[in-house]
């Protein structure tokens, strides 16, 4: 590869995972820089996973002050006021994460990611965004796509016992093992805006109900200008009304988005820790795949619901606008 060998210390620490993905992948990981924005339970899980895996650096963004709600599903925040008083969530998480692996640089960046320029984005290989509005997600995703370098973009959100990951790797080249051969492959990803703009009626009929439900909630939060993830049961009538409108506009049978599912999603402002572990684990795995260029990445939505226990991958892209 790039000739640089892993140190003895790295080989000893990462022994078991090098046996999974190889020394080349480990070298690439150690040179990668990750930015995460929005530190709730799922992102805390994700950060733990990639810090343990040995990425080069992790930069955290979350200027909220620590409240009791913040540490309910986030084990990076000790519930001790002496520790967190006067600090932002990102700062508290940063000191916890540093302890997991002294070989990874963990730091905090303050400010609003959507206001940062290309020079800032350029420093990273992966950006993970959580708890942001649909507009902010689109904006950040577009900024990533305008860079001369390729930047992997992910969004992740968990509500109640459901979770969703979106992936945009733009034009991604990777290798995979098929029997004894290594084959080189390529995948073309749509942007977040392109993906969610795909008309529902052109999607395969079996697309997960959770996908549609998440889009309804997203649109609702946007329209009401409420903080993502801060809905309540009082919003139910308005959400159901919006669902009806969207289903009509998209000629989708309204029964395809169960009211009970929407109800769970708007009530579940607290994350359910086992779901954070599962979705944060899958996201960690995907980011490792993307950085190492080893293994087929999921394209482009991952959806998990405790109710049926399925971890589903949906390819939501418009077949007409895609070019290989």
């Amino acid at each position: 590869m790039d000739g640089e060998e892993l140190t003895e210390q790295e080989t000893a620490l990462y022994d078991r995972q090098i046996r999974v993905w190889g020394a080349d992948a480990q070298r690439r990981l150690s040179k990668s820089h990750i930015l995460v924005c929005g530190m709730k339970g799922t992102v805390a899980e994700f950060c733990k996973n990639i810090v343990l895996a040995g990425v080069g650096s992790v930069t955290l963004m979350d200027d909220r002050v620590v409240t009791e709600e913040a540490f309910s599903a986030n084990f990076l925040i000790p519930p001790d006021e002496k520790v967190y008083a006067g600090k932002t969530i990102a700062e508290v998480c940063c000191s916890s994460l540093k302890e997991f692996n002294p070989m990874v640089r963990v730091s905090v960046e303050k400010g609003d990611l959507s206001n940062f320029d290309a020079e800032f984005y350029d420093k990273f290989d992966v950006i993970v965004v959580s708890c942001r509005s649909i507009t902010t997600k689109k904006l950040i995703n577009e900024k990533c796509r305008k860079l001369s370098k390729r930047l992997a973009f992910y969004t992740v959100d968990c509500r109640d016992s459901c979770g969703e990951i979106f992936v945009d790797l733009q034009n991604h080249k990777y290798s995979k093992q098929k029997l004894e051969e290594t084959i080189e492959c390529q995948l073309q990803f749509p942007s977040f805006e392109e993906a969610i703009s795909v008309p529902w009626k052109v999607l395969p009929r079996k697309v997960s109900k959770l996908y549609f439900a998440m889009r309804v909630i997203e649109r609702f939060e946007e329209a009401e200008a409420c903080t993502p993830g801060e809905t309540s049961i009082a919003d139910l009538p308005a959400v159901l009304k919006l669902k009806k409108e969207l289903c009509e506009a998209n000629s989708l049978n309204a029964s395809h988005i169960p009211d009970s599912l929407l109800e769970r999603l708007i009530m579940g402002s607290k994350e359910f820790p086992p779901v954070c572990a599962i979705v944060g684990g899958i996201l960690g795995q995907e980011v490792i795949k993307a950085i190492s260029g080893k293994g087929e990445p999921l394209k482009n939505f991952f959806l998990f619901d405790v109710m049926d226990g399925k971890g589903i991958v949906e390819d939501v892209s418009n077949p007409n606008t895609e070019s290989e």
Binding site: N49, L179, P273, P274, G281, G284, D308, G309, K310, E314
Partner: protein, 654 residues
């Protein structure tokens, strides 16, 4: 049912949970349980922390190396959840203190173990105590969670577990075709012969002249001659095992008709004259600590990922052999291979590579060889995190007695049927399982020739996995193990062990029904004895055949006696998963089929027993076939709305 419902909250708060294992899965599990609101957790783990754990067992730090996993994990979690109760047991789950009474105090038991033995043991205790068990395992990106509830779902042992991977003796001694064969030869034959117990049976050819001439007087080349210097001795061993023995093998023309002929290798042909005299520079080693003695270091080889040339391997071989005799002489005769013993790994790597070169097999790096020789489990944090989340979800269902929604879930590496996490309905108990049903076993045995000791060792311990067995014929006790026996009893049982079955105080003959019991596991088996005169030495090496006990379709392909590569169940999970998937084992839960297992099916759970696949096998990993169905398939995904209808389709978990 919203996940955060009152009922669920109460069940979590009131639950008392036992976690077995505080390793890769255990650390993640303890964290997720704590965050989910569990208040009372016991953890059992006998292990201490090692450096190679730190990449995924995130509750541990460098400064904890050497300390109890259970205790450090407890302290770490109490840091972010100070108001819960965690009791750490730094002990073996098989210790007698963890008896049925102990297990009965828990509402659910969660396993994060890495070996078959402990899993079987916990399974039995859970059955005896009637406590539900959530079982789990991971390897690489693959993982599985299963739920075992007595009488409702199958137990951990309802299905056969793959036997340890073994190889026919002749493959190892004469006709290796894969690198792993060379490793087994280097480790179990050569290393054992040179440095292990001299009295151990060993299939290595140690004679330098043909047996036909004067076998009694032929010398054992492994005996070091008087006044022979260690360099000479090393070269003589080298020339014998890689040169002479290959020549002898080549003389058997029949063997090589359809095989590539190996090439004999001698030191003279591989090492330049000056090197064969002065190899490594031992003077540069000031090793005070024997664990740092290394042939690589004294030869200036640094990168364990690099594959050495034949010459380098030969130098490492001679250097490692010499270092054992010079620096670790007092251990010779009692060494057994240990993956954490650097010098042993170096020796085995070099020897396996030289043999591989001889047989035209690809050479491997020390890193790879170590993985194969040590049956090292390859593990990543992400899979453990996902599996731990799934365990907690099943544990909550168990606490709520939400029987219809129990699932076993596979965590896949490749998307299959659009899924990375694939739930399937649990299987019903196997009616002929000797562990969870009362089906008698039957044993064919020569009651005039086999001793009670053979029966205890080969059947009761090796096959039935009992720790503290008690054997009865009717009401007559034939054998018992325990601390509370008096001297007479001990002497009596010791005497019985040496008797053949038919001559025991209460004669065991054809038609006898024996009862074998493990008091700790509270497992009782009935065994019908059938007398049989002859056994095929090669096909039935135990000299007895147990039926009703299900041995996995194991790796022993040849009828010959076989040699294993250590570890418990080291079949390639990836391979089995691919097979299972092709057979359509992983049916979606919406399919209205009753989940009765076919005998041919091998659950991947059974493969997830720790010591795992070799590097070769990882590379050869078969891709899970995509069974992703077309969009026009009528089958619908199961959503909460139609969970009831799915419940109706199921017939067996009601």
């Amino acid at each position: 049912m919203a996940m955060a419902s009152e009922r669920q909250f109460a069940a979590i708060k009131g639950a008392k949970v036992l976690m077995v294992g505080a390793g890769g899965i255990g650390c993640e599990l303890l964290k997720t349980l704590a965050l989910s609101g569990f208040q009372d957790i016991h953890i059992i783990d006998m292990d201490t922390i090692e450096v190679s754990n730190l990449n995924r067992q995130f509750l541990f730090r460098q400064s904890h190396v050497g300390q109890s996993k259970a205790k450090v994990a407890r302290d770490a979690v109490l840091n972010f959840r100070p108001h819960m109760s965690i009791t750490a047991h730094h002990a073996n789950v098989k210790d007698p203190e963890f008896n049925v009474e102990f297990f009965k105090q828990f509402n659910v038991v969660l396993n994060g173990l890495d070996n078959l033995d402990a899993r079987r043991h916990v399974n039995r205790l859970c059955l005896a105590a009637d406590v539900p068990l959530v079982e789990s395992g991971t390897t690489g990106f693959l993982g599985q969670v299963t739920v075992h509830v007595k009488g409702k779902t199958e137990c951990y042992e309802c299905q056969p577990k793959p036997a340890p991977k073994t190889y026919p003796v002749c493959t190892i001694t004469s006709t290796p075709s894969k690198f792993v064969h060379c490793i087994v030869w280097a480790k179990d034959l050569l290393f054992a012969k040179l440095f292990g117990d001299k009295n151990q049976e060993n299939d290595l050819n140690v004679r330098s002249s043909d047996a036909a001439s004067s076998s009694e007087h032929a010398e054992d080349v492994f005996e070091r001659r008087k006044d022979e210097d260690i360099d000479q001795y090393g070269r003589r061993i080298y020339d014998h095992v890689f040169g002479y023995n290959i020549e002898v093998a080549l003389s058997n023309k029949e063997t090589w008709k359809n095989r590539n002929r190996p090439r004999p290798i001698y030191t003279a042909g591989v090492l330049p004259e000056e090197l064969s005299k002065q190899n490594g520079n031992m003077d540069t080693i000031y090793a005070a600590d024997i664990t740092t003695v290394s042939a690589m270091a004294s030869l200036g080889l640094k990168n364990p990922q690099e594959t050495w040339t034949l010459m380098e391997n030969s130098r490492v071989f001679l250097e490692a052999l010499k270092l054992f005799f010079v620096k670790r002489e007092e251990e010779i005769g009692s060494l057994s291979f240990d993956k954490d013993d650097q010098l042993a790994v170096e020796f085995v790597t070099a020897a396996a590579n030289i043999r591989a070169a001889s047989f035209g097999i690809q050479l491997h790096s020390l890193f790879e060889a170590k993985g194969i020789a040590g049956n090292i489990v390859h593990a990543v944090a992400t899979t453990n995190a996902v599996i731990a989340g799934l365990i907690v979800i099943e544990a909550i269902k168990v606490l709520l007695k939400d029987t219809d929604n129990y699932r076993m879930t596979y965590c896949l590496e490749h998307i299959s049927r659009k899924m990375l996490l694939m739930p399937v309905e649990p299987y019903e108990p196997n009616k002929s399982c000797y562990v969870c049903s009362e089906t008698p076993l039957s044993l064919e045995i020569n009651t005039h020739r086999s001793k009670l000791r053979d029966f205890v060792e080969k059947i009761v311990k090796a096959k039935l996995g009992m720790n503290f067995p008690l054997i009865m014929h009717g009401s007559n006790l034939l054998y018992e193990v325990g601390d509370d026996l008096d001297e007479d009893e001990v002497a009596n049982y010791a005497a019985n062990l040496e008797k053949v079955l038919s001559e025991l105080p209460s004669s065991v003959t054809g038609g006898t029904m024996l009862t074998v019991e493990d008091l700790q596991q509270e497992l009782t088996c009935s065994i019908n004895i059938k007398h049989r005169e002859e056994f095929d030495e090669e096909k039935e090496p135990d000299g007895m055949v147990l039926s009703g006990w299900t041995q996995a379709p194991a790796a022993v392909k040849d009828d010959k006696k076989s040699i294993g590569n250590g570890g418990n169940a080291s079949n390639a999970l990836e391979h089995e998963l691919a097979e299972a998937n092709r057979d359509g084992e992983m049916e979606e839960i919406s399919e209205p089929s009753v989940k009765k297992r076919k005998l041919s099916e091998v659950s991947i759970a059974t493969i997830l027993d720790g010591p795992e696949a070799t590097a070769d096998e990882i590379k050869n990993q078969k891709e899970v076939e995509k069974l992703d169905d077309d969009d026009d398939d009528e089958e619908d995904l199961v959503m909460i709305d139609d969970l009831n209808s799915v419940g109706n389709k199921k017939t067996r978990l009601q």
